[in-house]
Amino acid sequence: MKVKLGDIAQLQFGLYTKPTDNGNAAYMQVKYFDDWGNQTNEIDTFIEIDQKNETHLLEDGDILFVGKGMRNFAWTYKSSYGPAIASSIFFVIKVDQSKVLPDFLTTLFNTAQTQAYFQTIGAGSSIPSIRKSELEVFMIQLPTLEMQQKIINIQKLHDKDMALSRKIVTEKQNLYQAVIKNLIYNNEQ
């Protein structure tokens, strides 16, 4: 089944504000993520929640999607993360969870095919940026909820696989350096 993104989700812009060093909600910026939507850096910008900005507080399952620049990755917000607000560089996508699972949409957004497509619709003289109207008509191939869940599971397993593989490489490097050093310097007598 093919649907328009706008038919299964609401799109909002993130909040433009000047963050502070402390506050009770994290202010999510692009710099905290790598190109695949993994959070990499410690959050160090915050916002004090008040009446004006509380409507921007992220809800469980909101998808942050970078609308500007060369890296259009997506990330799913989970309420276990704690209170957070997205910066204005993000689109905040609130999906109808009876039709689409947020993690599925995030996985879909982060595939090479979708990424290539976003690069083509980006407009702007120096920084390509995607218009809200264009994003709303983005056609999504929507499998059944069951299939979506399976895709999510595969994606989670893949992430785990990659993380473990990276750890193994690092540990093997450490081991190699230590063994060589040992052989050269500890056997000199």
């Binding site: 399976k150 397993l157 193994i168």
Partner: protein, 509 residues
Amino acid sequence: MNNKPITQSEINNIVWKACDTFRGVIDPSQYKDYILTMLFVKYVSDVWKDKKAFYSEKYNNDEVRIQRALNNERFKVPETCTFDYLFENRNEANLGELINTALESMEDANRSKLERVFRNIDFNSESNLGQTKDRNRRLKNLLVDFSALDLQPSHLANNDVIGDAYEYLIERFASDAGKKAGEFYTPSQVSTLLAKLLNPQPGDRMIDPTCGSGSLLIKLSKEVGSNNFSLYGQEINGSTWALARMNMFLHEIDNATIEWGDTLNNPKLLEGDSLLKGNIVGANPPFSLDKWGADNAITDQYTRFHRGVPPQSKGDYAFISHMIASTYHDTGRVGVILPHGVLFRGSSEGKIRQQLIEENLLEAVVGLPANLFFGTGIPATILIFNRAKGENTDVLFIDASQGYESGTNQNRLRITDINKIVETYKAFQQATPLSTELGLVIEDKFAYRATLQEIAENEYNLNIPRYVDTFEEEEEVDIPATQENITILKKELLAVEGQMDNYLKELGF
């Protein structure tokens, strides 16, 4: 009238604002001269006004007595040279010419002090300030901006405020204009460090053969702690030389001798037929100056290059040789800021370096952090030479490369960084020389006391890592634990891969 003393930052702000008049129109390296000259005129005029008011009151408006008293002042300011006069005429069509004439008369009235100081500046220059209409508008803006500034000594917290505003601008221009204007300025903390290392004493004669706008000389004078000193400088760039002159007057150092010319090819600081000698010679010469005049060096009439002629394309050791030749032979000290290459480059430079060390002149080598200077990221080093090392043949090595505060464009030395270096140096001077062949670690990864033998064994290579061990030891790796960890990770990976396989099978792959 507001009698609250003006603060440094108020002055700095007004002056910096005045620069807006010129910004974008002409190059900062040029408009700095206009701004700084006008600041000088304003200062001298205001001091004059202040004194005039003082004497008028003192002598009950007796014109003759007032004039007589004013004639003994530091600067004489004829009526048509005052800032107020220029300000009154700010709408004249020939404003540029009026200012030029005023500067000429000011020079005439103060021959001994201001001779040639305004020679490089032309307020009527079409190429610098635009066509008549534009030019007049800019000059008027300049006068209006400065009119807001009251520099009468009676309104100032202390007179140094002006000199420091001058320094502030010079520093701002250096960072603003990038490399071009950066040539005439050593960052303030670096000259402070050098001045403290050289530790001048009352009565000292201090020389900077490449003095730029004179900030190192001023820093040195401040270290003395009294007015009992004499300053000598030489600068090759005409307009920077003029700045140095004005800078001295603004800091109320009226008897400094600042000469204009090429130090290596035409030293102007002379006593009779030989070089002028001082207790302290400090400088930040241009790094690795090309075409410094090697051709004339062999026949140098002051025999500065008897240890050898430095390479044609790198003048570093030429400046060192000149500086050492400019010190008193029994007590003189030299502090010079140069690129790291002077520590290890071979051929003629290597030979000169070896001789300097064998003559027991080199006292300390300080490696500075990278990115301290305007317009160049390369790390610099400070070499200290001392004629009075006596029995002590050891050389102090300090690796200060890690002690700094990082800034957006430039790194900065903090007061604590400066103090640490200076204290280490002083402690080194007071300690008993080593009697062993091997040197001594003074502070791990920071300071080392090297012996002459050691330096000789290193073939007179002074590269700092040879003396100060800066290798960061990696954390000890527990080999069996790591092996075990890898086994566990592999098992986990295997499990994940198994799950994935099942999934894929289930999905028909």
